[in-house]
């Protein structure tokens, strides 16, 4: 802070009328990702892992009944990060593990209510927090399996939960340093410019997927190395040979004396994150 404040400065501040300037409303929107299991009918086989995003169904205008990212207006006295944590807990009762800013979305006309800019975040929800929110129909918050593919020059974002299917078509407009931006060609059933925010979030997520430190946030404190590998494979959409993954991860994890059991095959040791 400015410690030696002069009389002149005090006077300036006393007369400063912030209301004289036009201001935008400021919101926060959070793209929350988790890696969730989907059951496989073979009792011996492990469950399939899917990258999922958390959306809420809008109960009011604008975009009533459309699906949207959790978020809301910034309140006085909180930072955007605090707002992001608050909003996601209020709307979905899920506690995010980590939060990462992916920039402001501030194009004119992005919100029909007026001049509203949004601070967008990626958040990671761990497997254990995920269990807190079920798939019961009563809830307005649901996890959607994510698919993000290229179709010629277009990008296709597909979100699925049971019978609910959302398809958005976008076009990449900028790509630098692991963060792309997208123009919406067809929003599908997504509110505002959220198709664009989700797409950018996915590119950020993928660029973080190489980073081992990032992967731990998706899992509980104790996990198997195969689980950790599946998380990376799911985020990066690649498949990795177990021997090589284990060699690379070995410096980041510590063995515990616990193990899984009852899985229909050899049990796996549980590990924790090192340091």
């Amino acid at each position: 802070m400015n410690n030696n404040m002069s009389k002149e400065e005090e006077l300036f501040l006393k007369n400063y009328r912030i209301e004289d300037y036009e201001r935008p409303s400021v919101t926060v929107d959070i793209a929350s990702f988790s890696v969730r299991e989907q059951e496989v009918d073979n009792y011996r086989q492990d469950d399939e892992k899917n990258l999922c995003i958390l959306l809420v169904k809008r109960g009011q205008y604008p975009y009533k009944d459309c699906w949207a990212l959790p978020g809301g207006f910034l309140k006085k006295g909180e930072s955007v990060e605090e707002c992001a944590f608050r909003e996601i807990e209020e709307e979905t009762h899920v506690k995010p593990v980590s939060l990462m800013s992916i920039g402001s979305f501030s194009a004119t006309g992005r919100d029909p209510r007026g001049w509203i800019i949004s601070n967008a975040f990626v958040s990671v929800i761990s497997e254990s927090s995920v269990k807190a929110i079920g798939d019961d129909d009563a809830s307005d918050a649901k996890w959607f399996r994510v698919s993000f593919t290229k179709d010629g020059d277009d990008n296709v974002l597909e979100l699925r939960n049971g019978d609910i299917y959302i398809k958005s078509i976008l076009r990449e407009t900028k790509c630098r340093f692991g963060r792309s931006e997208f123009e919406i060609k067809d929003s599908g059933n997504l509110a505002f410019d959220h198709a664009s925010i989700i797409s950018t979030a996915l590119t950020v997520l993928r660029s973080c997927g190489e980073n081992f430190d990032f992967l731990f946030d998706f899992l509980p404190e104790k996990f198997t190395l195969t689980d950790l590998q599946r998380v990376q494979e799911t985020i990066l959409n690649v498949s990795i040979l177990p021997a090589n993954f284990r060699r690379k991860i070995s410096g980041y994890v510590e063995e515990t004396d616990e193990a899984t059991s009852g899985a229909g095959h050899r049990p796996a040791k549980l590990f924790t994150r090192k340091k």
Copy 2:
């Protein structure tokens, strides 16, 4: 956009009074970096390269006469990126090559004028644009050589331009994915929380320094490989063996038929960025 708008929705929007909610003022602050040469007395030797940041001297309260990042209030009808480009050109007459969002700074009390949140950017100014702003004393915008070091648990940010010396002490509070956050212990002569923004910007810059695509923005269209190497060395604060740098960069550049001359030693071929 929402195409099939119902009567009900039209009514909702007509009655929506955005003024009913309290809103913050929104600013944009830009940490502009360039790699500048400093003359060496030996006529044969190449000039030294330094990482520099562009600051402006504040002409009014608050923080009058302190140095600050160029920036200003977001205007209606522009995006934060457009605002960043506009502000930096208005205040410094320099045109940035690229812009990268590094998040919002929104802690309460960060601005004595009231509830003001800032969208911070890193921008890169190319060597050619740098020449547009001299070191004449008439200008309120100046380039400062940057040094950012550790002293025990503290981080020390030192900025120098001729006789002007600014020293800030900070403490790292968070570090994830190449972006650290800092708490200011002593702001030195820097306005607002700009010491913190600059420190975060430096960590982002360093994490981008490995990326070859990023380096080109610091140089004119045609450059020598040694210049490119110096840019990376300056940003990452390391020294690289020329043979190895050339091998790694070779896929990213194309030879031209031009070369430097008059440097007191073997001339260097000029290259351009590939594709």
